[in-house]
Subunit: 443 residues, 2 copies
């Protein structure tokens, strides 16, 4: 990095070029992000054209826009020719309208047609993730013909080791790996060597379902077909890694009571961050007032034994934590397809037994602390510990059940996480607590 800056400042560009040629394009793109505009453009222009367009595809949208605004139409045309179609579509989606015009003007009409078609697929669908740069041929040709064909077209295509086999109507009938092509006899027919037991998805399928197919079948390349089973594209596993990250980020956000956003934190505006957070905070604040009503109802009880208030935070926090432990495990189990709605009774029975153990330990611990160390008297120690025990059982069972119920109602289980569970359990916990206090302390 410092070396690059030094060379740039001393204008020793040919030495700089030598160094950059040995670097990974992704690392060069990283360096660009740190550089001021003028320096980027100088470096960009000394790179050989195929390397510069590869570096370009790894830049952040902000840098890409900066570059596009400052290079010639001819240079834009070269980048558009070189970039893989799925990267091009991702890039165009991030650009403002005037830049998009400038880009499309410099794109060949064939490619422009494909780009427009891909821009129409709904967000997060197979169509929006796939690339159309796959290799396909007919089953009636020989292995040798297939390899010759591969040699002609492969340079332009995205790195993949799977070729597809289609019939006369472009319908997908099989696939064959480079490995099989190399291992097969030159004169064999493709249709005799190909794999016909294929897993494929449709253009409108959701990316989350596609990710679970990749996970389940350990595949690296997935064909995408239209509703007449005609091959239209391919999804590779490196794109699925991004999908998995994105889906997990969404789950984390929903579980922390936020509307999901796919922007990076440091790049998202303050207003947009606030907007994604405010709705759930309002809803949960209003539901927390129900817990307040429970306290108001027992105002007289509290007035005569004010010390009861001292244990409210401990009961609320422990209940919330116990519940969110359970709901998190169940939500995650549902996301990884390890737990289904039909397991609900197994979950209840398991959580009940876990909560007995956990509740017993926490309550005993608390009783000793309250009775022997804090010396708040037997009555109050007893009421607090029984309430704690009951709270933990409720919290764990509710935390285990609600995500499954949500799933069966086709609501995203992730919203049944810590914040919502906490609010529900809080109210129940305080009701039990005051009820027991009134009964046992004769208030």
């Amino acid at each position: 990095m410092e070396e690059i800056i030094d060379l740039l400042e001393q204008n020793r560009l040919s030495e700089l070029k030598e160094i950059l040629l040995n670097e990974n394009p992704i690392d060069i793109a990283d360096v660009f992000e740190e550089f001021p505009k003028e320096k980027c453009l100088i470096v960009f222009k000394i790179l050989p054209k195929d390397l510069s367009s590869e570096v370009f595809s790894y830049l952040s949208p902000e840098k890409q826009q900066e570059v596009i605004e400052n290079i010639t139409d001819e240079e834009i045309r070269f980048i558009m020719d070189e970039m893989y179609l799925d990267d091009t579509v991702d890039f165009i989606e991030e650009m403002p309208a005037n830049i998009v015009d400038k880009i499309l003007k410099n794109t060949s009409s064939d490619k422009r047609k494909l780009i427009n078609q891909m821009l129409k697929y709904p967000d997060n669908s197979a169509g929006s993730v796939m690339t159309v740069e796959y290799i396909s041929f007919k089953g009636s040709i020989t292995v040798k013909q297939a390899i010759d064909y591969y040699r002609q077209v492969a340079i332009e295509k995205e790195e993949t080791d799977i070729c597809f086999v289609t019939d006369n109507k472009r319908k997908l009938v099989g696939l064959i790996s480079l490995k099989t092509l190399i291992l097969s006899n030159d004169e064999s027919l493709i249709e005799d060597e190909m794999e016909t037991n294929i897993i494929s998805v449709q253009t409108k399928d959701d990316q989350e379902e596609i990710a679970s197919l990749f996970r389940k079948y350990d595949i690296t390349t997935m064909p995408v077909v239209d509703n007449e089973n005609r091959l239209v594209g391919v999804i590779t596993v490196d794109d699925i890694v991004d999908v998995i990250d994105q889906e997990n980020t969404e789950d984390f956000q929903k579980m922390a009571a936020m509307n999901p956003s796919d922007q990076e934190y440091l790049k998202e505006s303050v207003f947009s961050l606030a907007k994604h957070r405010i709705v759930w905070l309002l809803v949960l604040m209003l539901s927390a007032t129900f817990t307040g009503f429970v306290i108001r109802r027992y105002e007289a009880t509290l007035q005569s034994v004010v010390i009861l208030a001292m244990f409210i935070p401990m009961l609320m926090d422990t209940g919330g934590n116990a519940g969110s432990q359970s709901s998190t495990l169940i939500i995650r189990g549902i996301a990884l397809e390890e737990i289904e709605f039909s397991d609900i009774f197994k979950v209840i029975w398991k959580e009940f037994r876990v909560s007995l153990i956990v509740g017993m330990i926490l309550s005993s611990f608390n009783f000793i602390r309250l009775y022997y160390f804090e010396r708040v008297g037997f009555g109050i120690s007893f009421v607090v510990c029984i309430s704690l025990f009951a709270t933990i059982i409720m919290a764990k069972v509710i935390g285990g059940v609600l995500p499954l119920v949500a799933k069966s109602l086709k609501i995203d289980p992730a919203i049944m996480a810590s914040p919502l569970i906490t609010t529900i359990v809080d109210t129940a916990a305080l009701m039990v607590y005051f009820k027991l206090a009134v009964t046992f302390l004769n208030i």
Copy 2:
């Protein structure tokens, strides 16, 4: 599924075999999981041997054990010959000692040596994830020689389209894809065609770091070298998908205050579930008592204005939720390497501005509700809303800062999530609340 059961019951085994031959081995393994032992064994034995060992590698450890206990030594030997080494190691790690003996007895001594070596790598290290079934050759041979060599050895190796190039001391010097092999001139030397700009990892590197390399460089195959840069194995992207799932599950568990466990929920024992949950619950329960001490300190205040207790849950819950929103975004940003410790001032400034907006909206909303609808009087409405405002600011700034501080202290940022933030914010919120109450309500 029903069809399979019907055919089994009518003992029409050859028809059944026909059907199964067209199924994906992973789907057959799924069917096995639902079947009682006797049926599994019947089906297992009618499958051709290579298919049956593939099905075997996809079974759950419970089913694998069942099968191993009920087949002959010869059948075990066949499975051990056919299974990929990394699957074999995963399988052996799950078996009880007597089964492991039975298995190793029926494994060739070469393979046994490799298995023992791989069992020694630490959990979650590159060595424990890699497979040793890669293809490598010298750079001095021609493309044609390389393809001939590939034809001889590839059938036995795990599906991969990358071959490695090593020198005389087995040191890794390059890699070449099947695509490049096919596209290159038969007489070219491998060393002229290979890619030398390689990203590799060492056997002891942590799988989480390896996953981020896969993510960053969009690669599908990663060579693993020892500390003298000698090639010892390879990690493929399908294994990395599992690693990403596992790392995310761990983060979810830590963020819900649990010690991480890599067992599936439905398969984990009640005792083990309780053990993973109890420690954090105890710690957090004890810290929540600090919040209780704040209340005790203001017992007199509470005695004279009992209604103040009514707003404790709302303040605690909203503070906790506001803080966990921020901490979740920061924790996730750190995990995806989008946020670093050096961004701490950007984060503070951003969270401060977000909390101003969010705090303003929630407080105004609350003031209107308390003053006009609940009619609790201006003083109390005012104190509650100012406390709420202050709580939200504290919560968001603390929630943003603590994960970054943890990261810089080399503590896992994921533990700075909802539960811990909630407890810290609770105490601070109630201190502000009572302080303001004493000051403004002249108690």
